[in-house]
Point group: C2
DNA sequence: ACAAAATTGAAACGTTCGTTTCATTATATA
DNA sequence: TATATAATGAAACGAACGTTTCAATTTTGT
């Protein structure tokens, strides 16, 4: 019994963790199935057995931490209603509700979360993961923040609001990626 | 004579342009040699003939626009000396000297420059291109801006200055990537 | 404890990868 | 124009890719 895993659920998580790290380091195409399985010390067939395909594994990696992150962001955001009368405090609240959960997870959520955030940064510049369940979930909870921003500035051009949100997203991701 | 190219130098630039676009869209590992040559309507052997290897082609793509960008940034930066007595105007000058050349190239330098900037954004999150001629050139002209920031705030912690520069770099890259 | 289901070990599958080869054609030099 | 050099066309190379197969083994439910 010198194996690094024990049984099914552990195997799934071992593969998810390893893939998460390698996808974050080298991107989807840069990390091969054999890279992942050899790093995890398992047979290369196990990825196809547990996830059907490499792409499904990738989506599962993304999927795994979407809801915890989105939930925490939602929870923080809904603590206070957007108030056009106090735009500064409102914006500050929106920004912190969006950025801090990811920064906190990356800093204190363990190495998996750190890798995950870097992986999300990859997706932000590489658009090749078109419409699917994963990106739709992200867009859903991003929409909450867009609405909050728009409610804070009811007269603002929606394109401009969208740009502001993109700036918030970009800055958050890079803040996560660039603190060694 | 229905070919898309004429002779040697044109072939090199055709390959550079096509590779630039596909590397920006899909990353280094996501764009294959055959993807590039078929998009350019040339034989797949031509990349190895003109650039020896796929990696050399990639480095050549990066290299091609480094100096024009760095030169313009340097030129703008050196128009004014950093002045600790007027930190606000100094910082504004440093930020604009760094960001605007890239934004201008991306906006008005043709599609090649746009692709190039997206490609640089890839490199910023994907660190797998360790010490080489290319990254060293980038670090060199980045150092100029770090020094300018440090001169503006002589008493500031150098780590903090470094973080500010990273923020500047990140924001610039994302501004380039996210305006459709 | 036994039958059924799930998982692993080991090997091979066909495809695509980056690269190499070499004969042929085009270009440049004298 | 003759000759050397450079570039292209077409095909093939071995290696690595993601995936599939199937017998052996372990786990699960009764």
């Amino acid at each position: 019994m010198t194996r690094a895993y024990k049984k099914s659920a552990s195997m799934r998580e071992l593969l998810l963790d390893t893939a998460e790290a390698l996808f974050a380091e080298r991107g989807f195409h840069g990390a091969s199935v054999r890279d992942i399985t050899e790093t995890a010390n398992v047979r290369n067939a196990s990825i196809n057995y547990h996830f059907e395909s490499k792409e499904n594994l990738f989506l599962a990696v993304i999927e795994r931490r979407i809801e915890p992150l989105a939930a925490l962001r939602r929870e923080r955001l809904l603590e206070t209603k957007p108030d056009p009368a106090e735009p500064e405090t409102s914006v500050r609240h929106i920004v912190r509700s969006f950025a801090e959960p990811m920064l906190d997870f990356a800093a204190h959520g363990g190495p998996g979360w750190k890798n995950y955030c870097v992986l999300i940064a990859h997706l932000a510049v590489q658009k090749q993961w078109g419409e699917n369940t994963v990106t739709r979930k992200y867009d859903d909870h991003a929409h909450l923040f867009l609405e909050a921003l728009q409610s804070t500035f009811p007269d603002a051009d929606s394109y401009r609001v969208h740009c502001c949100f993109q700036f918030l997203l970009s800055t958050t991701l890079y803040a996560v990626c660039n603190n060694e």
